[in-house]
Point group: C2
DNA sequence: GAGGGCATGTAAGACGTTACATGATTAT
DNA sequence: ATAATCATGTAACGTCTTACATGCCCTC
């Protein structure tokens, strides 16, 4: 099987106990979204592909009249996930429109650059709030189910957002200081 | 004109003094790549589009027998870039395979999770090295051409990579400590 | 009975990368 | 001479999001 970028999200989520495509999407949205997003348009076709490849099994499991497919990893699926986990990571991408604007911010006035820095900070504050909101849930799973991975990554995200906020504040202070020293520029 | 994600990279790079598609690609690769990548397959078609829309002008400007198109922003192009710069940013995406593996790392032994953390750290160390290597160039442009934006963003990237390395080291220490307290787990 | 959540899926299109094709110039 | 760099582009392919379609279940 030729793995795609969603292959291991799906396999990993099943390993963590997800039983339907819907649950995979929920968990991805509430916990993995900030570093690895996935949509239905990727998840459901990928599940079919993985089933054909024998890495996943599915069973019809309707709840009343509502249809449902219950999914599970096969031994081959566990194996495939494990092999991937043992390889060093290589994808590391970042797309930040705020930084792009900052990059071109010489076309702005000093005061406008300061506003921009403020807006960049606001984005990271918002990220921090979103992640902090799910912290209790992750903590609970950590304690009750022994799942340390999701909690570890969540803490990375929260600490990252806090670091970025602090960086912005520091630069805001520096730029304000420079503007005060050379008031003509703003 | 309906802007795409490459529209403003192109306009901004022209504003910073790039005169050919090739130069845009060079500058993007050496300085904006870590937070906003762009490929030839995006840049050249986008330049045509922007020229049709009247935001960019081009002129045949061969060097000897080697053909070349020299590009420039029009007033409308400057205006379009400026309006975008005045809007708050909204795209903020992150794709980190290392974090994804860490997320699923409960399927690993404690010692293997430590190896993984080490590999994640190595990625950020590598990023830091790449960015630090271009620092002198950015500094020079900052001083000589008064371009503060690119330098500001580069410092963000370097500080981010350093923060991430420190976070990994801290977690490595913590995990090693836990393993020592409960030696059976590793 | 209306709205929200559970649940599965597809289609169209936007987005992006890679690889290739071409050819001149410059440095070794 | 030959390799690297300057320079412009396209085609194919793969990825990803958005929007839509469908319908049941549960709570208010």
């Amino acid at each position: 099987v030729q793995p795609t970028s969603t292959t291991f999200v799906v396999l990993g989520m099943l390993k963590l106990g997800c039983r339907t495509g819907y649950e995979i999407k929920q968990l991805a949205d509430t916990s993995a979204r900030f570093f690895w997003a996935a949509s239905y348009g990727q998840i459901y076709p990928e599940l079919r592909r993985l089933e054909e490849a024998g890495l996943v099994t599915s069973e019809d499991d309707p709840q009343g009249d509502r249809r449902r497919r219950t999914l599970a990893l096969t031994a081959a699926g566990e194996q495939f996930l494990s092999e991937w986990l043992h390889q060093p990571p290589h994808v590391l991408e970042y797309r930040d429109e705020g930084l792009l604007k900052l990059f071109f911010s010489d076309a702005l006035l000093a005061s406008e650059r300061l506003d921009l820095l403020h807006a960049v900070r606001a984005q990271y504050e918002e990220l921090g709030r979103r992640l902090t909101a799910i912290r209790p849930l992750a903590e609970a799973k950590h304690t009750r189910l022994g799942q340390e991975g999701p909690s570890l990554v969540l803490e990375f995200g929260i600490a990252l957002s806090e670091w970025a906020v602090a960086w912005c504040e520091e630069q805001e202070g520096r730029l304000r200081g420079e503007a005060a020293r050379r008031p003509a520029a703003s």
